[in-house]
Assembly symmetry: C2
Homo-oligomer: 518 residues x 2
């Protein structure tokens, strides 16, 4: 059989060739917050929206959600909800009143204000893969994540302008002790990137440490930090129908400081949620809204995002599937519900594939386009995700960034402009039936910016592609990865701030970090 | 570096393992005509539609289209259009009056009436790759197409229920002499498949031969054949602004016999059309409508489809690009125009990639989803296309069929049903916050049909996938291809009909076939 990867290995050392002028490995689009102006795809009619809403409200009213967090239970009691043990039932009037406080849009400002993001206002924004325990690349194969892997993926997160915010750890660095891991990784995140960052809600010490580090990195007083969102956390419910202690604790801490929270139930239809998609979505909505209602009660106007992570399992093996038709429709349906409740929406770019091959990209494209169709505002895992979230891969990261750039380009209104210059009757007349458009002024004036320019896709014909080494896409992505990391320059940071961050990390390490019995 | 393809080659012989009960290599979805109920994505507002319409009409009125076909010129003269040499100018009133005769929907019935397709009535239908000169598979690499390659791809065309019609030759069999090639390949098409088939408009003898063979295969009298569409042709204009002689000749012959025609200008922005998309679309519309107006004048009510094949070139190399953001928007915009004119729309599933890898699938998914978003009724090249149409690949064919099946599943209304059984409040109550949904009756009653079941995607975890040979998707597709072809059984055909077809082929060969100086 033909074996392009073999040729690729032999060819070697082409990375330098790919670098562009100015030491840039990739000629990429500039930073921007793309606007999704497409009308969403809406499978549900009004009765369908009402049915899912009623289902979610009846779950909250009749079945209730478990909150394994004393503080939350006390707040719900104070709000007049029915609290029995850890079970909380709340009326739809209360929920809808609380949701009425939630902002439809808000901003988060990282240490570099030029990287401010706006959530809920028509933008569609992308973040890196978060939390896989394993790393895979073409060279190493699959192995447990390390701090070095994590740093490389953070460099990609910073490098690509189409990545608007940083998620959780792009890979879990299991070579770092859990008690101090967050200190090292957040130090790396804050020094290697200047984009909006995230705190895991994994115990009060960790959350407080990250808050403090984000404050230091931004050179902010406590008052300045709390005056506007500077960071966020993302939590999952423990489906079905449960919120655990540290997740809610982290959210409450951030909400009290005016920071943003994203609540993303992980409702796999057929496993942690009903096998029917409307049921899985209704349950996801109930789980998400119960937490957001709590946060609005605590602090009316708290910036909250409703997340969707409803997919289905493979009914033969129980393995989660992603980018399926069911995933796409669940995402679109949740988009309709988020608009109904007036909340910004988070979705994802995900796949079940184990390697960055054809399957990986059809599953990922399905999930990304469904997020576009759903009107999602914030896409987690938009670059680098493999094996249902168990693997982070730099090759996949780079492939995904090509697709994300194309989505950004897809949203440029120039593409559907219909002024006289775009209808171009004069150019059509000039070329007539025998000429070619390349030579005419109308083309020459526009050709440099007329079309999307890929950095990874190879548009040459087969023979030219073969001559250049017959590199399959994963291999080309691997070489770009090496070139980007080799060229990487961290964003500027004031030396005094870096020292303050380092001192904080040192002090907290000397204190033992955070407990690991959460 | 890791080298999964190497492992794959060593593993060998897993095809048998993949076969399902009943000797079927693939457990696939049944034949159906999927209904696209999504609201189309519409970048153009009313003014935008009016601007493109006006641009197209001014091209037809002021610049004109070249028709290198005497019969067409005579018809246009007779219709009162301005004919100067081969240039034809026509007023918008004439065009719109002619378009008013075109049916919004119609059927085509092949030799097996159970494979009847309906075009323009909300269905989205898929056809195989057509006309690449080259074949590529994992075993052979790239080589000129042969009759054997072509037959294998016809077997895939017949085998997959998600392929609704047969396009042109799935690969050009260059081992057959051009004078009789059509006789052999159409014999293969009509015996290996029972789906709607196509005739190339490459000279009167070829078209007449194919018409006769389709008539014989359907056991139809000449009268029965002409009573309803039984086949179709697809033509491209010779952009810019030109229709060549054999293409129009073939259409006129089919239209006279009540058969269907698809007119698909190939307007690459920046090459054969303006660099601005609105201009490229306006030109494409003008080229398409000029021919469809002619056919409606010849036979009011003739079944016609407007095709779109507007993409852009790589402005660095001039190579055509596919599945780009520009391609997607052009397809959506043409969808709006097709609805404005009341014509069924043809689009495509295409890519620029040279091998069936990650790039191939993100480009193909982009093109397929834009066809869905455009409300296209008929997708050419929906399975098997590589290298901008220069390569047909069985692995890519099989990958594409997985995506096409997912699109079919995506359109099943069960996915967004919101009745009490789907909201599943009782199941949610039963499982509560500690259980699992797999065991409950609500799940068990539905689990066999609840979710899309892939035949190519591997949803196992990394370790199980590795243990099974660590096959990347292209390699898995190659094995399925071998298994499908090994198992293939042609659809039934009456022996007398087969003999009549064979006798026709023999006679026409003895007469020398068709001239090759077209």
């Amino acid at each position: 059989m033909t074996d392009p990867p073999k040729k690729r290995r032999r060819a070697g050392g082409r990375a330098a060739h790919m670098r562009r002028a100015g030491g840039q490995a990739v000629a990429q689009m500039p930073w921007r917050l793309p606007v999704n102006a497409d009308r969403p795809t809406e499978p549900l009619d009004e009765a369908g929206i009402a049915a899912i809403h009623d289902g979610a409200m009846r779950i909250l009213e009749e079945i209730g959600i478990e909150f394994l967090n004393e503080e939350a239970l006390a707040l719900f009691r104070q709000a007049g909800c029915i609290v029995e043990g850890t079970n909380v039932r709340m009326g739809r009037e209360f929920v809808m009143e609380m949701l009425g406080h939630a902002p439809r849009r808000f901003t988060i400002t990282p240490r570099n204000p030029a990287r401010r993001i706006s959530l809920g206002g028509g933008h569609i924004l992308f973040g890196n893969v978060s939390s896989p325990p394993n790393y895979w690349d073409m060279e190493t194969g699959k192995r447990p994540g390390t701090r070095a892997h994590c740093a490389d993926l953070l460099k990609l997160t910073q490098y690509f302008n189409c990545i608007h915010f940083s998620g959780g750890y792009p890979v879990e660095p299991v070579d770092l002790h859990p008690s101090t891991r967050h200190l090292d990784v957040v130090f790396d995140k804050l020094t290697l990137t200047d984009k909006v960052t995230h705190a895991y809600s994994l115990g009060p010490e960790r959350v407080e440490d990250v808050i403090e580090m984000v404050r230091i990195a931004g050179a902010l007083s406590h008052e300045e930090f709390e005056a506007a969102p500077r960071m966020y956390t993302n939590i999952n419910s423990t489906s079905p129908l449960k919120h655990d202690k540290p997740m809610i604790d982290g959210c409450l801490r951030l909400v009290r400081r005016g920071q943003a929270v994203v609540v993303s139930p992980f409702t796999l239809a057929g496993a942690m949620a009903p096998v029917t998609l409307a049921g899985a979505v209704a349950q996801s909505i109930a789980e998400g809204l119960s937490a957001i209602a709590l946060f609005q009660y605590l602090r009316p106007g708290a910036p909250c995002v409703l997340g969707t992570f409803t997919s289905n399992v493979d009914m033969k093996s129980g393995a989660p599937a992603f980018g399926t038709p069911e995933y796409m429709r669940a995402t679109q349906m949740t988009g309709q519900m988020a608009r109904f409740y007036g909340l910004p929406l988070r979705a994802s770019g995900v796949c079940a594939a184990n390697v960055p091959d054809a399957q990986a990209m059809w599953e990922t494209c399905n999930s990304l386009w469904s997020a576009v169709q759903a009107g999602a505002h914030m896409l987690y895992h938009a670059a680098g995700w493999l094996e249902g979230g168990l693997i982070a891969s730099p090759e996949k990261f780079i492939m995904d960034c090509e697709v994300l750039q194309m989505i950004q380009r897809y949203f440029e209104p120039a593409l559907w402009a219909t002024g006289p210059e775009e209808i171009a009757l004069d150019a059509i007349r000039e070329v007539g039936s025998t000429g070619h458009f390349f030579g005419v002024a109308h083309t020459q004036e526009r050709f440099e910016s007329a079309f999307y320019q890929p950095f990874l896709a190879d548009w040459r014909n087969f023979e030219a592609w073969e001559q250049a080494g017959a590199l399959w896409t994963a291999e080309r992505a691997h070489r770009l990865f090496k070139a980007i990391v080799a060229d990487f320059e961290p964003p500027p940071m004031d030396e005094a701030i870096r020292e303050e961050l380092q001192a904080f990390v040192d002090r907290r390490k000397s204190e033992g970090g955070a407990p690991t019995d959460f």
